[in-house]
Symmetry: C2
Subunit: 366 residues, 2 copies
């Protein structure tokens, strides 16, 4: 049993806690967009693919156990779970000999140990058709006993690597990423370092889930990705990361932060292509791809210079302050807000390619 999570998770940067001005709870409408966009896909997948007959636990009992991996502090996780439960209820009510009324749902909300679970619990909807539970720890390791969950869901979370690939922040490595703070997709060694980390993480993720899901259980993933043969610096998100990076370089040039710190800073984020994730799941072998759909994200929030910097701050403040210290955070996001506003027209450029939503349903092989 993987009980020492430090072995699998050297880095852990939760979304901003609480429910204040810069909290994730109040600045997660961008992530909400993809929850909404995936709603129909997930409902249909459950209707078509959920096996209500073969499940050994469901045969002998009336409980259904759902996990949301990377739940943060809400509220998006509550919308996603509500949608899943409605779809399962519909599915069971179609089988007349099964009583969906009698089903009892237990929902496991998972995120890093330092996630603000207190805020999550205090925001739980009432009434709610499930028994809520929180599970602390990295989903790149084991979280649940074997064969104990019927359906797992993860939205907007698997783009976060378990760690920044070591070499990209090392000025002496051929994979050093220079002043860039993300995997642009252009430098071969940097792409390899990120891609290898992603493969390793996804294998850990899939191996753990294969043990924890019941045979035939569903794993529903909503992941941001790049279209095949597109690199991240061609997308709006990539261009936005370049704005953040340029703010850091400016602050370093003004002597406000250390240049070395900028050279060693990278975001632990990766956006796979559909081909890449498909091959990875097939190579892993624990799951069959039952359904996969990609559609371009609208990315409308990135055009809003009032809201967008708050969304970015709620997600990135922990990782930035961990690397540079707390003192510079307010000033950085001040610079960044101004720069985002000044450069907002670049997100409308003809050359900007939309990021993809990848909706994937996997079924655990027996």
């Amino acid at each position: 049993m993987a009980t020492d999570e430090t072995e699998v998770l050297p880095e852990s940067y939760p979304m901003n806690g609480g429910d204040g001005k810069v909290s994730y709870a109040r600045n997660s409408f961008a992530q909400r967009t993809s929850v909404d966009a995936s709603k129909k896909f997930i409902s249909e997948a459950i209707a078509d693919l959920l096996d209500t007959e073969l499940n050994p636990i469901l045969d002998s009992s009336i409980r259904f156990q759902i996990a949301d991996l990377g739940c943060a502090t809400g509220p998006n996780t509550f919308y996603a779970v509500q949608n899943i439960i409605e779809a399962i209820n519909s599915k069971y009510s179609m089988n007349k000999h099964q009583k969906s009324q009698a089903l009892e749902y237990q929902v496991f909300f998972n995120d890093h140990t330092n996630n603000d679970f207190n805020t999550l619990f205090r925001s739980l909807p009432l009434p709610r058709p499930y028994f809520p539970v929180a599970v602390p720890g990295s989903f790149y390791g084991r979280l649940f006993p074997k064969d104990s969950i019927h359906l797992m869901h993860s939205s907007n979370s698997l783009n976060w690597l378990s760690r920044v690939p070591k070499d990209v922040g090392d000025i002496n490595s051929p994979a050093w990423n220079g002043d860039s703070i993300y995997c642009t997709g252009t430098a071969k060694e940097v792409v390899e370092a990120y891609s290898n980390q992603y493969k390793k993480d996804m294998n850990n993720f899939l191996n753990a889930r294969a043990l924890e899901l019941v045979a035939g259980g569903l794993l529903v993933l909503v992941v941001g990705g790049v279209p095949n043969c597109v690199s991240l610096n061609q997308t709006g998100i990539g261009k936005d990361y370049e704005i953040i990076g340029s703010c850091l370089v400016d602050m370093a040039n003004k002597g406000l932060i250390s240049k070395e710190k900028v050279k060693s800073f990278n975001l632990p984020l990766y956006y796979p292509s559909p081909n890449e994730i498909e091959k990875l799941i097939e190579d892993n072998g624990c799951f069959g791809i039952e359904r996969m759909e990609t559609f371009p994200g609208k990315g409308k929030h990135i055009h809003n210079s009032q809201m967008w910097p708050m969304i970015v701050r709620a997600a990135f403040e922990a990782i930035i302050s961990n690397h540079f210290g707390n003192e510079m955070v307010e000033e950085l996001f001040g610079y960044y807000s101004k720069n985002h506003m000044d450069k907002v027209s670049i997100f409308n450029g003809d050359d900007v390619i939309s990021l993809l939503h990848l909706n994937i349903v996997l079924k655990r092989k027996n």
Copy 2:
């Protein structure tokens, strides 16, 4: 499914959160005493009473699910759980055809929704032989799906009622408790009000647990009680509550807090006698009493005027500040510390009767 916990829990006063000077995490050694004192009793009860054959979930799977009800922020809950798991492992290792090595434990830590679960998660021991999970909500309502837990434990928590009996704070009721802040055991109407609330709460507790435990599952309770035919004002704890009450009256006389507020304040605590709890469990009918042991608490901490007021504050600050407001808390505990020190000799009096630890093991009837 009881999903609206406000229906069953009008009042909820968590132990002090965080890990600072007045936190429960740093001021819970008194409660630790009873965890330690019950250790041998619980180990033996598991060795003798845990049914490793009949459990339908354990037959088809290798997971064992444990719940600790009223976990607060740790660390006592971790000691209690560790002890339980060691006892279960021993039990399984005696049955040679069963592999205790392969058992996977999932531990559900339960307390009120406003308990500081963030501190609990950050204090989890490493390594640990279980998958930890937090469950928010009052244990006087449903917390888990049916037939989903193998063993439940609750220590030092069932003395907390779901609410102060309404009438004891009502100056117009015959059950009004006057300036007293607890159930002394002398005024008949007050005793009845408290005792009725306790019966109602315990029935709710037992009915919920009977649904949630698997058939044959164990419910291990460690509860503070008074000896048969003894009233609480004859015990050290009773005398201590009188000191707190007298501090409140003093503060009201000085105009620092409202006299009406003092007249309406009561602690939602109840200490049953062995006869009372035994009858209540038999009348409820869901569980068989497999083992019951009472022994006098040493109550050594109550003599320590450095530590004891901190222990009381960590447990009572929430309920006191909720009733009187935050402003008076520091001053009250200043008064109380001084009074406790001045009067500490009363705890040594020949007339002081020890509170009991009641250790009880119940088995769910089929």
